[in-house]
């Protein structure tokens, strides 16, 4: 709040009304001070009750034995468990596998999405305007498809026996891709299921990266590229010494957003895995849901402990996001 004094552009208009145009016809000074709080009050109340308080509860549940029994009226108070659930998680090889898979799958999703998105952004910038517009509209279709529809489409594309991908792979010569593709079930083993999952996510998310990078590229003055060319820089060199440094803040922001979005993937996995029987294809968010709503009886305590782990991971990334936003003056 010390910033409010020194910040330049947005401020020089804002403080004025407080000092001078207390002229607002019917309002006394007291009301002026209260006004912003009145305006944000409904938002604050809703956010606090619906989203903020549950974060606190999540931590509380994670140290208590809590199940459906405790939801009944006159239920006994849930038993305090201390760090038991965390201890169980840390010593559980299955949890470590799920955590490792979550990190690996997220890294692949983010890496491929960022790489492909950036390349497509650069490509769109080079294409003639009309063709670039056509490709952009096409990408919009992928971006706009609801997660549930997208997951169903890919489930159908990779269906054993009749899915188009299986049929096509089967039609290709065996020396190239091997045989037996037609009956191949992609959704049983972690590696093949996660491959399809990564494909769905990349398909849905690369357009956002591409369009953002394209917008960024348009903001770079072309003189910089000319200067680079005069100095004998090839395309590779001019990307790393002009484009990348100029767009560094944008790339940082896109990277953070993408990590946060991909770490929480649930809907797509829910459709692709089609149930909770196969523990080897769980990711963290899936594990939380399974503990809370599919295990019998539901183990809210354990589910919350996993949720705390996931939230901490996300908050670490969010801290970096906040740093970027504060630097860009978005919080002023």
């Amino acid at each position: 709040m010390a910033q409010t004094v020194k910040t330049a552009p947005p401020d020089d208009r804002a403080p004025e009304p407080e000092t001078r145009s207390g002229s607002g016809p019917r309002r006394g000074p007291r009301l002026r001070i209260g006004a912003p709080y009145l305006l944000i009050a409904p938002t604050l109340v809703i956010l606090a009750i619906v989203l903020l308080w549950p974060i606190v509860q999540m931590v509380w549940y994670s140290v208590h034995g809590f199940t459906t029994r405790h939801l009944l009226p006159n239920a006994p108070a849930p038993e305090f468990k201390g760090l038991e659930y965390y201890g169980r998680l840390l010593s559980d090889p299955e949890f470590w596998t799920i955590l490792r898979n979550t990190v690996a799958v997220t890294v692949l999703m983010v890496g491929i999405t960022m790489g492909l998105g950036t390349l497509v952004g650069l490509l769109l910038n080079k294409l003639p305007k009309w063709f670039s517009a056509v490709v952009a509209v096409g990408m919009m279709l992928a971006w706009a498809t609801p997660a549930i529809s997208a997951s169903l489409i890919f489930r159908w594309l990779f269906m054993p026996d009749r899915g188009l991908v299986n049929v096509a792979l089967d039609a290709l010569p065996d020396w190239l891709v091997g045989s037996g593709w037609r009956e191949y079930n992609w959704f049983l083993e972690p590696v093949s299921l996660f491959s399809v999952l990564i494909l769905v996510i990349v398909w849905q998310s690369f357009p956002f990266i591409a369009v953002s990078v394209l917008a960024g590229l348009k903001s770079i003055p072309s003189e910089l590229y000319e200067a680079a060319r005069v100095d004998g820089a090839g395309p590779w060199r001019s990307f790393w010494s002009v484009t990348f440094p100029m767009l560094r803040p944008l790339f940082a922001l896109l990277l953070v957003l993408q990590i946060i979005w991909d770490l929480r993937v649930f809907t797509q996995l829910y459709i692709l895995a089609n149930g909770f029987q196969n523990k080897s294809v769980y990711l963290l968010s899936y594990y939380i849901y399974q503990q809370g709503f599919s295990a019998s009886p539901p183990n809210y305590g354990m589910g919350s402990a996993i949720a705390v782990v996931m939230t901490v991971m996300i908050l670490i990334v969010t801290a970096y996001y906040l740093r970027i936003m504060i630097r860009q003056g978005e919080t002023r």
């Binding site: 407080e18 497509v120 956002f208 809907t267």
Partner: protein
């Protein structure tokens, strides 16, 4: 692809006459078109496949050789989805009305509340302002997947006098969707509010306009485009939402939203790909239409300021 995609090579060489292009330049340009076409196909094909499956006959879907272009075109799947019973005893229209109720309801509330909050953030300096903005940014990031257990328990506990909880009906998810939409709609709107020249409002105030008049006659018309963009954004988020609906609307299928219906239908039938794809298409169409409206705002709304100009 790297070589074709980066900037320098196709810039015309200064020494040559720009009109006559060397074979190398032509090859590069062909490569660019090829890469562009590949991206286009990759983006469009799954959507095409959804629609194509929805339009072909049951016999063709079940045949072992799938052709890329449908040999038969039929509306039987759409007919079955729209006019039949999607889930036992409940028709598509019920689910559509449910989805629209929740979505439009939460959008209306979120639009109103976020407009108020955006005015506060853009027009006033107050002590908790920075804290409020940071709160919005953090809340936006904490995933629903992590909070879902606590939120579920809370809504389960809230009961009216007759013991009806907030689960299993549309009110509960409407409230959650509103809360989820608020942070991003406020962030999108504050820019629009800040862009309205202060002088306009002051001039109106000098002419004796009341605060309400200033709000409705001066601020609103100028902020309206932002309000539309933010509302569409909130609409798309709520329309597509899955995990909250899945958690809250367990028992009675009468209250299902469209995405939940689709997932449930898929789980029950498994092989009715014609109908599943037809229903997916119907779910997707409104989002596509809205998307084309707000596409540019979407980018700037999400990357907020990182792209200058």
């Amino acid at each position: 692809m790297t070589a074709t995609a980066t900037r320098a090579p196709s810039a015309p060489r200064t020494r040559r006459a720009p009109r006559r292009r060397s074979p190398a330049a032509r090859l590069r340009s062909a490569g660019l078109y090829l890469a562009g076409t590949a991206v286009l196909l990759f983006s469009v094909f799954p959507v095409y496949w959804m629609v194509a499956t929805a339009l072909r006959s049951q016999g063709e879907i079940f045949s072992r050789d799938q052709s890329v272009f449908p040999r038969t075109v039929t509306l039987e799947h759409f007919d079955r989805v729209v006019n039949g019973e999607l889930l036992p005893g409940v028709s598509f229209w019920t689910f559509l009305v449910n989805s629209l109720t929740v979505t439009l309801g939460s959008v209306a509330v979120a639009a109103l509340l976020s407009l108020l909050a955006a005015v506060a953030v853009a027009r006033f300096r107050f002590r908790l302002r920075t804290a409020f903005i940071i709160l919005l940014m953090v809340i936006q990031m904490v995933p629903m997947e992590a909070m879902i257990i606590s939120i579920f328990i809370n809504f389960r506990r809230i009961q009216d006098g007759t013991g009806v909880t907030m689960l299993g009906n549309l009110t509960g998810i409407l409230i959650v969707y509103t809360a989820v939409a608020l942070p991003i709609t406020i962030m999108m709107l504050r820019g629009f509010v800040a862009a309205v020249p202060k002088e306009l409002e002051e001039a109106a105030a000098i002419d004796g306009a009341s605060n309400m008049v200033i709000f409705w006659r001066i601020l609103m018309p100028l902020v309206a485009p932002g309000l539309v963009a933010a509302s569409i954004f909130a609409f798309i988020t709520a329309w597509n939402e899955f995990i909250v609906a899945l958690t809250f609307l367990g028992r009675s299928t009468d209250d299902y939203t469209l995405p939940l219906t689709l997932s449930y239908y898929f789980g029950r039938t498994g092989t009715e790909w014609g109908a599943i794809m037809a229903a997916s298409t119907l779910l997707t169409i409104p989002v596509m239409v809205f998307f084309l409206f707000v596409q540019r705002r979407m980018v700037s709304g999400l990357t907020m300021g990182a792209v200058k100009g």
